[in-house]
């Protein structure tokens, strides 16, 4: 099978060289995000510039409140920036209408949230094909089948989310994110609610989709072990990118985190 299955070791030692080569999937240019006004003003992102290369798995890390979620939301078109611009492929998100923005999220971006990913009234399969159904696009049956098979969801397709375990729910969410073959998949702590085994499953799925299908994936995580699945780790602190690590291992990430805390 030429799909995302295969060597599920999780540790991929061959990170793609850099941002060049395959081109850029998403890019933040000098992005600032300021919440509130006056005394209560909070600068969640402070002139952040970063590229995410195609077919690369990036993890964003940093202390709580450092702006990880904010960055991801801005990149994913869920929120607008105060300053700077965001590009998905060649599309500049600045000033896009709600309709265009929604279309972009629907057709070109996939999401895996920490929780509440699924529509409780729909079955797993209906949830997986939801973005395509909403768009009125024809569902690529063969592709969806292979995704579902790879994710081990074949015998769960007619179940409703309430009948699935947390790990299964996250796998369904991954399946949904991958099913429409988006340009980039975002996950905000996608394994935050899962035990180690389930989170390994989910991370393997994401890793393999990058390795074997050239999918671009960006996740936010607090877990060095989760970050070790990535090709590249970006460290945020106080709304700024303070460090970057390539080909991370759990230990090197932990090390770097300790180091950052000391500063």
């Amino acid at each position: 099978m030429n799909s995302i299955a295969s060597t599920a070791t999780g540790q991929n030692a061959t990170p793609s060289a850099s941002t060049s080569g395959h081109g850029v999937a998403a890019r933040a240019v000098n992005v600032s995000k300021i919440y509130g006004a006056g005394d209560t003003q909070v600068s969640a992102l402070d002139h952040v510039s970063v590229d995410f290369a195609r077919a690369e798995f990036t993890a964003i890390m940093g202390p709580s409140g450092s702006g990880k979620s904010t960055l991801m939301h801005c990149l994913a078109g869920l929120d607008t920036v105060t300053e700077g611009s965001i590009l998905i492929g060649d599309t500049d998100l600045t000033g896009l209408s709600d309709k265009k923005m929604t279309q972009l999220r629907r057709d070109r971006i996939g999401f895996v949230f920490q929780a509440f990913n699924l529509v409780p009234t729909l079955t797993a399969l209906e949830n997986i094909t939801l973005p395509m159904d909403i768009a009125g696009h024809k569902v690529d049956e063969e592709w969806v089948r292979s995704v579902v098979t790879t994710l081990g969801l074949n015998d769960r397709l007619t179940h409703r989310p309430s009948e699935l375990s947390g790990g299964q729910q996250q796998r369904v969410a991954c399946a949904r994110a991958l099913a429409s073959r988006p340009e980039i998949v975002f996950g905000d702590e996608p394994t935050g609610n899962l035990d180690s085994r389930s989170s390994s499953e989910v991370l393997n799925i994401l890793r393999n989709s990058v390795t074997h299908l050239g999918q671009t994936v960006v996740i936010v995580t607090h877990d060095p072990r989760a970050a070790s699945y990535a090709d590249r780790v970006i460290f945020l602190a106080d709304g700024q990118i303070v460090d970057e690590l390539r080909a991370p291992t759990a230990d090197s990430v932990l090390d770097r985190m300790k180091h950052l805390e000391e500063i």
């Binding site: 629907r106 409780p120 729909l122 035990d195 085994r197 072990r225």
Partner: protein, 866 residues
Amino acid sequence: MTTSTLPPPSPADAPPDRPPQRLKSGGSVVRKVSLRNLAAHKVRLALTVLSVVLGTAFIAGSFVFTDTLSHTFKGLLSDVGQGVDVQVTGQEDDSSGVPLADVDRIKTIDGVRAVQPVMSGQIVLIAADGKPTQSGGAPTEGLSYSPPAEQLGQPYEFTEGSPPTASGQIALNQGAMKLAKLQVGDHTKVLAPSTGTVDVTITGVYKTKTDTGGYIGALFAADQARSLFTDGKHIGTVYVAAQPGVSQDQLRARVAQQLPDMKVITGKQLQADTEKDINTALSFINYFLLAFGAIALLVGTFIIYNTFSMLVAQRLRELALLRAIGASRRQISRSVLLEAMLVGLTGSIIGIAAGVGLAYGLRSLLNSFNVGLPSGALQLTPRTIIVALLVGVLVTMFSAYTPARRAARTPPVAAMREEFASTGTSLRRRTAAAVGFGLLGAIALAFGGLAPSGGGAASLVGLGALAMIIAVLLGAPALSRPIVGAVGAVVARPFGAVGRLARTNAVRNPRRTAATAFALTLGLMLVTTIAVFGASAKHSINALVDNNVRADYVLTGPDAIGVPVQAGAVAEKVPGVASSLALSPLDVRINGKSSGGTAVDGPLAQLLPYKLISGRGELSGHNIMVSQTWAKDHKVGPGSSIAMVSSDKRSVTATVSGVYENNELLGPWLGSGDFGREVTPPQFEQNFVVLIKAQPGTNLATLRTNLENATDPFLVVKVQTAEEFKGSQADQINGLLGVLYGLLALAIVIAILGIINTLALSVVERRREIGMLRAVGIMRGQLRRTIYLESLLIAVFGAIVGVAMGLVFGPLFVHTLRDQGLGEISVPWGQAVLLLVLSAVVGVLAALWPAARAARTRPLEAIADL
């Protein structure tokens, strides 16, 4: 693999065994949280209060409306018996009254201070525009004016002009002057059934308490009243006042002794009797309004309960958090109850005010349709306030408490971790109970349908209907899945994914769907039942006219006085008329019981062909014909003699000449016109209708003009073809239906507001999910469409159940009344389909605001913390 760095599920941090006492001012903290919470979720709070407002407004509104109606009706008769110590009348209601000689005799009885003969009768007052004045259901009567010295009660208080002193003069009450747009000194006409039109001049205006009701009271000088309203030999009613020191009972005994043939009662008794009569007369409307009040209570309760169940379900996490930090169950319950009480109280108070507004609006609506309800000042009684407050507060507290108790029982951690799928417990028991009630109902309905026509059968059907309503109330959640599924498959299919979302949302919580739709179900059940009644009544009348009436023209008059006797006589002589047939009421007593027949003056067989079952169709002299049923009930047949007593106490022996097949137009028995005149005092003579047959070859249009010209002096006579006659009967039925629909409109408005409320709350409740849908790319328009469709499905579900019930109950009720003139069952299919379509539209309209709210949800709310 190392797991140590994975963050543990945080809520478990709180030790479960921490004693509640640790929270020193626990109660007040919980209360503070509870109050802050109310303030924080303003929309939710507003919707909650709104549900109570709706519920109590509906209750208060229907009570205010009921009270106003009955107060107005009572007001019309409140002065009866004022200053009267003894009333003398004929032994029976329908008798001529007290012979003039007896009136003089009363004056000589020891202890009598004054005697006031009351002469009154139904009239029609011609307004300034030459048309009959519409009194809107209140009586229009002519009365004899008694000067203050002879007036026993309050003397008339004149605000303008002077009392009538001679024939041709009348005084009117202020309300009548306004209604008829007349001025003192104006000349106009008054119609009395027996005498025809009388020219009158208005000499004065008097004040009366009953003005507000649309009542018209024309005062005539005594002589004219006597000639208009009596036979010249009897006085209908005589009021007697006692001298000081003589009690009502003493005087009654003395008068009764002197006049053994008369009915003599005390003034107190008169007041009690009048009160009883009013209540009997109002009982139909009271039952209806009581039923309406019950519906109001039920629907109001449902809306409140529904809303609070949703509210507490949404707050499970917050309550669980409070529990986790150590608040005791009791504290939680108390705080929820306090909150509910505040909401209930506020909502009820606003609701009562809104209810008065509703009643006002309803009355204006009905008045604008001119449906003939008397109008008076709105009545807000303490009972209304107490009931509305009690229901508002208690139902709110109960509605809040039940789910809160469940919340308190939920293990804190479970409640905080999981988004609660608030589907609740299994529906199995509830559905089983529904099946039980359904079976009982079906049995009662079947027996009611099979029972002989009449009140017993109708009660059985009513009982069956009640059981069915309970069955539906209980079974609706179980019904919602298949019905919404089926409707959704048709309606939502074209909408693809959006349709699927809507369909699954509509049955996400069957209890809630059922409760939301229930108000609409109930309202449309009544609307459909009534529509079946109306259609059947119209159909029955049409069939009756089509099958029986062979007339070219039908003359009719106002209900109260019919076609004046002289008008009939004049019409008969119009050139081109071959024959005419006047139908008039016959009132006699048979074996001491009053019996109403029909006097037919004219060639019956030609104009109203009937089917003779046995004997001969002869009506000359004292021959009468009787209907099949009447013959069976009275065990008579051709040749039988029947002893009758006329209302002026003369005995007549009638002979049955033939028996005819039951015929609604003809009634139970028939006598000739001469027979009618023999047994009816002239002042009671009136014609229901006069049927006219043209001579062959006559130009019908010319004949019509001639008939109209001939009857024109009588002002109130209408000349119609049989078709037009059917139409005007249908109009009358439509008018009555209009009143009922107007009342039900209130129920339906509340139902719609209830749907809006539930939808809006469920949009708030599903904020995260909606945000997530937005994040994965659902367009605002698609989201709105989803909510519209969801609402449409819920509304149509409610409508289907309601209309289906109405389509079962309506025909069954009509069937039980088949011997009361509702021989034909007609099901208004078109109307039923229209109701379903309208409910779909209503569903969409109800969703407008909630959908707009949902569409404003930002995608980020999917991930936002609660």
